[in-house]
């Protein structure tokens, strides 16, 4: 009997966990719209979760769990606001019970309003530019991804208190800056949306190319970023850059299974077995890119990068790649969002389209670039071009320098292997 009871409790707990993942963002969003504060909204949602954990194992999971959680949180919210108002009034010694009751009823109705923009408002709030990048990422994963502080800390390989502090700081900063719960319009929307897209892509990249540690990819973060991107694309389907970002992530994610060898070592794009690329994600990525293009106007930075990724995705073999088109697309990226890293990528494409000497000229011009001084891919690219030109000794030195600059253990191994290959070729030659 005890055994059955325990099994049911575990089952209910697992169901609650899954329901929380599905419902928490919408729950927090609906509450944040009404109370105007992410911290308080999250607390109210958590209280509802605690109530569910107490009641559902014994009474069973309700038929509409989302509505149950919202109803419970709503009661808590009304209680909380009433208590606050009462406190304020006692201080003022004014009794206005009737008005108070009216306000509670208004609040009740306000929470029941089906506002499709709630989730969007929450996204814009969590990704507000007033917050630092790290903080935006942590808060977004917490309130929109429904991840626990522990899960976020594990994904980013940082101590749990670090993430907990970031989240506390984020909520405090939003409060102090009086950030409103809203979906911004006009010129502000452009800047705010850029911040949202940046956060999603940061999460994706943290997963796609883990900056530290022994893992080359942490796919759970990629999946989380993709999910957020797909949700955002449904919420604001008229923004081409949202589709551009989704396209970029879908196509990059299509290579996840091909970019790691059986020993966990990274495999570079042109060396990958293209049969292992995920055709479903490529198809979804190309469709998202098409949506971005159909909306008209010049392509933004994400859509352009997606278009570059699409050139690789469409090529059945590495030699079939349309490198001149990739160079042209990089030219457009340079115009729009010039950066030394983009220049470096463009140099790689030029090297493929017009020969390694042309690529090396461009890379050499970047060697003095201060912002790339400790960027491991600069010597890695330079080493690759030198190797193709038969300058093995110089190539070896560059690969070794790149290896000393990367923080990723797997990538370091790959770079040292390339250095060793250069040394061997030089001796053999």
């Amino acid at each position: 009997m005890k055994g059955i009871r325990e099994a049911t409790t575990t089952e209910a707990h697992r169901a609650i966990e899954a329901i929380w993942r599905i419902e928490s963002a919408r729950l927090i969003a609906g509450l944040a719209r009404v109370v105007g504060d992410i911290g308080m909204a999250e607390e109210l949602a958590q209280d509802a979760l605690v109530a569910a954990l107490e009641q559902w194992p014994a009474e069973g999971v309700p038929e509409r769990p989302g509505a149950w959680l919202m109803g419970t949180a709503k009661h808590h919210a009304i209680d909380l606001i009433r208590r606050r108002k009462t406190l304020e009034r006692k201080q003022e010694e004014i009794g206005r019970d009737i008005e108070q009751a009216q306000e509670a009823a208004d609040l009740d109705a306000a929470i029941d309003d089906e506002v499709g923009d709630d989730l969007l408002g929450l996204i814009f709030m969590a990704c507000h530019p007033v917050l630092s990048k790290d903080t935006r990422v942590a808060l977004t994963l917490r309130v929109l991804g429904g991840l626990t502080t522990e899960e976020i800390a594990r994904a980013f390989l940082v101590p749990v208190p670090t993430i907990a502090q970031r989240i506390v700081r984020a909520k405090r900063t939003l409060g102090e800056a009086h950030v409103r719960f809203e979906v911004p319009g006009g010129a502000e929307r452009v800047a705010r949306l850029a911040s949202v897209l940046e956060v999603i892509y940061l999460i994706f990249n943290e997963g796609y190319s883990a900056t530290a540690g022994n893992d080359w990819v942490r796919p759970a973060l990629c999946e989380e970023a993709l999910r957020l991107g797909r949700i955002l694309a449904e919420l604001i389907p008229t923004e081409p850059e949202v589709h551009g970002l989704v396209a970029l992530m879908e196509i990059q994610a299509s290579r996840l299974g091909a970019r790691v060898g059986s020993g966990g070592e990274p495999i570079l794009l042109l060396d990958q077995d293209r049969a292992r690329w995920d055709r479903l994600l490529i198809r979804r990525g190309l469709a998202a890119l098409e949506r971005a293009e159909r909306l008209g106007g010049a392509l933004g930075p994400y859509a352009l990068q997606a278009a570059i990724a699409a050139c690789h995705a469409r090529a059945t073999t590495a030699t079939d790649t349309d490198w001149p088109r990739i160079v042209a697309l990089y030219d457009a990226v340079v115009q729009l969002a010039p950066s030394p890293v983009v220049e470096l990528n463009r140099a790689v494409a030029v090297g493929m389209a017009f020969g390694p000497a042309a690529g090396l000229d461009l890379v050499d011009a970047l060697v003095t670039e201060a912002s790339l001084a400790s960027y491991h891919l600069l010597p890695a690219v330079r080493g690759d071009l030198l190797r193709k030109l038969g300058r093995y000794e110089e190539a070896r030195a560059e690969f070794e320098r790149a290896a000393s600059l990367t923080e990723n253990a797997r990538e370091r191994e790959l770079l040292l292997r390339r250095a060793a290959e250069c040394a061997a070729t030089r001796i053999a030659g």
Binding site: R14, A15, E17, A18, I19, R21, I22, P65, W216, V217, P219, E223, L226, R227, L228, G229, R230, I231, E234, L235, L256, G257, A258, R259, V260, S262, R276, L280, R284
Partner: protein, 115 residues
């Protein structure tokens, strides 16, 4: 993780009459909710089994069997490919589907190492 949902709708999926507009609308509403949650990667419906074929392998021998197929309860009428975080999440979503009959099977898709 990815899961494949196989909709084994039973007798009705073999019927020549298409589902009612109300049933279709409810299904579309549910599917839209899934898409908005970023869950659906792919969805599709299959024609009834009289239009289907089976190929049986026996060593080097291949035998083609024409539909319709007998074991109606096991026939797949539609499918979804979902991206979810756990089997429990897939279960929670599936329980919300607007169906009043049939058996739906959830199977996790084997992914490449590293995914």
């Amino acid at each position: 993780m990815r899961v494949l949902i196989m909709a084994k709708e039973g007798e009705q999926s073999e019927a020549a009459t298409p589902p009612t507009p109300e049933a279709m609308a409810e299904y579309q509403k549910f599917n839209e909710e899934l898409v908005k949650a970023g869950v659906v990667l792919e969805a599709g419906r299959l024609h009834p089994s009289p239009q289907g074929k089976r190929v049986r392998f026996d060593g080097k021998k291949r035998t083609v069997i024409d539909g319709p197929f007998a074991e109606t309860k096991e026939l797949v009428a539609g499918y979804w490919l979902w991206q979810v975080r756990s089997m429990d999440e897939a279960l929670e979503w599936l329980k919300r589907a607007p169906y009043d009959g049939g058996t739906f099977e959830i199977r996790e898709v084997v992914e490449f190492e590293g995914m």
